[in-house]
């Protein structure tokens, strides 16, 4: 008991800071994203309005499927726990109630936060002119804290949480020291959280859809909401089905497999057709800056991650031979990653400058080519290569030359980092495997292909996930390298969010975009984990 309290007091400072500046922002951003907030004034409640502005009706579909996903997680977690409990003959069910109580308590605490937040945010607007003093502010904070509804919400949550925790601790006391079934608390707790948040999300989305409907009726315009929701969902479902069929076809006999693949191909085409027909309209109704930002981010990922990892793998494989000066090479490769980003970006701003005498343009001049605008060039590179006579549209014309220059900078900084991690991964491969391969007569390339690559796959997986997520978060160097003349073609998702916040002071809208970005990152991580669990070989 004493150790427990001591442990909690050790954790307290770190968790207060991380909780306040790392976890609480999630709830805060979610709340803020439902407000109109402009110019530092807390705006009125707007429901999903900000999201609708950004991605139009897609947000209803996203929310719906998010809720479905949460329920699916809940069910699968319960199913797994129950299955395990049958096999192990343990008494899992007695954990269900305390876990449910704790989950409800957590949800009620979240509810308390959402009741307290709006009251607290109103304080600054209550104080105007003369009354706007530190003391008045503090007394209003205290007053808000002691509001009956805030206190009631807080104590309901605390009571539930405490009841659940005490109950769980009591069960834990009764159990033998080596009891296996104490692990069942978490699955039940997670299930409860998933179910509650899924239900809340569905309820929220449902009211929002109804409100949108009522508004549309009032204005006398038809609303294609439902047809859009159904078609787009159907499109994604068909794609999912195609993927599933393809997967299951892999380990079946030939005839069955071919049939499954055919059905899968049909589903794929139908799904793609529906989406191609329907998605552009939704995209066009959303925020152009945001979609352009996402497109730039995707270009950036596709243009940097494979090249970066490929170069790093080559360098690491070469460095890994017995090379003189290995440490020196490693130190030099790593330098671009360590040097402060603003400093190196400043250099690249000059290297990629549009002046005719700038380094790259003088190089072009040497070959008799015309100088390019580089960081100030908004035209897409494919558009430029094809001569710009045909308008290829935003996607086909590729990333702008300005974005390509930034991509080169990004690759330059991260190759060394990837090389170092690849080297560590290579060092972890047991030497005996190569000796065995040598005896079997495998040459250098065969060894690389059949020993090194499979054993390196966890590292490759980690690095690619890290690089993709890093791109979605990337801010510093793009912010330094972006030029007004590039007409925003270089603005990735994070930059768009930053501009919505700092330049336009649209607090609610920036929060909504940030939440969407988080969802994208979560989906990428999930998909990556699924693929990795199949493809990655963990020794």
């Amino acid at each position: 008991m004493r150790e427990m309290l001591l442990a909690y007091s050790f954790l307290a400072p770190a968790f207060i800071i991380i909780g306040l500046f790392g976890l609480f922002p999630l709830a805060f951003a979610a709340y803020e994203s439902t407000l109109r907030g402009l110019n530092k004034i807390v705006g009125s409640y707007d429901g999903l309005g900000n999201y609708v502005k950004a991605v139009d009706n897609l947000i209803y579909i996203i929310n719906f499927w998010l809720a479905v996903g949460l329920v699916y997680f809940a069910v699968s977690m319960i199913a797994r726990a129950v299955q395990e409990h049958r096999q192990e003959q343990t008494n899992a069910m007695r954990w269900a109630l305390p876990a449910a109580l704790t989950a409800a308590g957590t949800a009620l605490i979240a509810r308390f936060v959402f009741i307290l937040l709006p009251e607290m945010l109103l304080i600054p607007s209550k104080l105007r002119g003369q009354n706007n003093t530190q003391e008045a502010f503090r007394s209003l904070v205290v007053e808000t804290w002691w509001l009956p509804k805030v206190q009631i919400a807080l104590w309901i949550g605390v009571v539930f949480l405490a009841a659940g925790a005490v109950w769980a601790l009591l069960i834990n006391r009764q159990m033998p020291k080596d009891g296996r079934d104490r692990i069942y608390f978490m699955p039940f707790f997670n299930t409860g959280i998933c179910l509650i948040s899924g239900a809340a999300l569905i309820w929220f989305t449902w009211t929002e859809i109804n409100a949108a409907y009522a508004e549309a009726l009032e204005e006398g315009v038809g609303l294609e909401l439902w047809s859009q929701i159904v078609t787009i969902s159907a499109g994604f479902l068909l794609l999912l089905l195609a993927w599933r069929l393809w997967e299951s076809a892999r380990d079946r006999s030939s005839n069955m497999g071919v049939a499954l693949r055919l059905v899968g191909a049909v589903a794929l085409m139908a799904g793609a057709w529906v989406l191609i027909a329907e998605l552009p309209r939704v995209v066009a109704a959303g925020d152009e800056d945001w979609w352009n930002g996402l497109m730039a981010t995707v270009f950036y990922v596709l243009g940097t991650v494979p090249i970066q990892l490929g170069l790093a793998l080559i360098l690491a494989a070469l460095l890994f031979q017995k090379i003189r000066g290995q440490t020196l090479f490693r130190v030099l490769y790593f330098l671009p990653y360590v040097a402060p980003f603003v400093g190196t970006a400043a250099v690249f701003r000059i290297i990629f400058s549009n002046r005719p005498t700038a380094p790259l343009n003088s190089l072009l001049d040497l070959f008799g080519a015309e100088p390019l605008l580089w960081l100030s060039e908004p035209a897409g590179i494919i558009q430029m290569i094809t001569g710009g006579k045909i308008d290829l549209g935003p996607i086909l014309s590729g990333p702008s030359l300005a974005l390509v220059a930034i991509m080169i900078y990004g690759t330059w900084t991260y190759v060394g980092f990837d090389t170092v991690i690849f080297l560590a991964g290579l060092g972890a491969i047991p030497n005996e495997l190569y000796e065995v391969a040598d005896i079997d007569g495998a040459g250098g390339w065969a060894q690389f292909r059949h020993v090194t690559l499979p054993l390196l796959s966890p590292t490759i997986y980690f690095l690619s996930l890290y690089a993709v997520i890093g791109t979605f978060k990337a801010f510093n160097h793009i912010f330094v390298l972006r030029q007004a003349a590039a007409l925003g073609t270089t603005d990735t998702a994070s930059i768009v969010i930053f501009q919505a916040f700092k330049r336009d002071t649209r607090y609610g809208y920036a929060s909504a975009l940030a939440i969407l970005l988080l969802l994208i990152i979560m989906v990428i991580t999930l998909v990556n984990n699924r693929i990795a669990s199949r493809r990655v070989f963990y020794g």
Partner: protein, 297 residues
């Protein structure tokens, strides 16, 4: 420790003459590629140094090397951009935030590594999940939180040290890093410390931390680099040069210097130099810290 393992795999020995020649050719190709890579990595730095020593006409005229090095560029940039102020700001910010981070992360990491308490795995998962959050999602909420905290605390937070340091005084990354090291400390040490009548806190300070200087060093280095690189958050919470850290200072200077490329580059060198020097002295900690946490994270 990784170095020996890395060098462990030798090229296969050659017996016959053509094989020797082929090996020599291989070596030549390998070195060429490696040297090309190294050149690509450091050329921009050399170019920066070169331009920072030019005069204005040379810098804009596309010359590769200065005719006579203009060392005064550095003093000029230093005075024009208040670099001494930015420098001190960054040093102060780094000291406060890294100092806090070491204390708080060490405490939490110790609890995770060596103590038993209910909810341990849950709290640890919760902690690691914050690593996935994009920084962008914290901008708006933290800005509001910080300005709000500034109004109830005795000192303002915006454009002052608390907003620049306190949010960074604990991080999931730091706790994770230290925990990895603390876990490797044998339990027997704790048992004997207990016999000597030492509690957890004394054990942490007198035994665990001295044994983990490498990890603490890595944490300090990363904190230093992170504070030096910080850009988005300082732009949001500083309103004047009073507390503007160096990266933001350089960015402002880049815009002010405009066409004065040589001064821009001198400013870039001034900004990069401390980190680069630090890196060259501690590169093993840096690289191995990245490699170990990267692989396991």
């Amino acid at each position: 420790m990784a170095n020996e393992a890395l060098a462990g795999r030798a090229l296969r020995p050659s017996q016959t003459d053509p094989a020797t020649r082929r090996a020599a050719l291989n070596q030549a190709i390998i070195y060429t590629v490696l040297i090309l890579g190294a050149a690509a990595a450091i050329l921009p730095f050399l170019y920066t140094v070169s331009v920072s020593l030019m005069n204005l006409t040379e810098a804009t005229g596309g010359r590769a090397l200065p005719s006579t090095p203009q060392w005064t560029n550095y003093t000029e940039a230093w005075h024009d951009a208040q670099f001494s102020l930015y420098f001190m700001n960054s040093v102060k910010i780094t000291l406060i935030s890294v100092g806090g981070a070491v204390v708080f992360c060490a405490l939490a990491a110790y609890a995770f590594a060596q103590m038993e308490f209910p909810g341990k795995s849950f709290l640890f998962t919760l902690l690691l999940s914050t690593l996935m959050l994009p920084e962008a999602i914290t901008w708006v909420p933290n800005f509001i939180t910080v300005s709000w905290l500034g109004r109830i605390s005795p000192i303002p937070w915006i454009n002052n040290w608390p907003s620049l340091t306190i949010p960074f005084m604990a991080s999931a990354f730091g706790i994770f890093l230290l925990r990895q090291f603390f876990q490797q400390i044998p339990r027997e040490l704790w048992d004997s410390a207990q016999i000597d009548g030492s509690g957890h806190f004394r054990y942490l300070i007198t035994v665990v931390l001295p044994l983990s200087t490498a990890a603490v060093m890595t944490l300090v280095l990363f904190g230093f680099v992170g504070a030096w690189n910080a850009l988005a958050w300082p732009i949001l919470v500083t309103t004047s040069s009073d507390w503007r850290p160096i990266s933001y200072g350089l960015l402002v200077f880049l815009d002010e210097a405009g066409a004065l490329l040589h001064l821009q580059m001198a400013g870039a060198i001034i900004t990069m130099l401390p980190i680069v020097v630090l890196y060259f002295f501690t590169q093993r900690h840096f690289i191995e810290g990245i490699a170990t946490t990267g692989l396991k994270g």
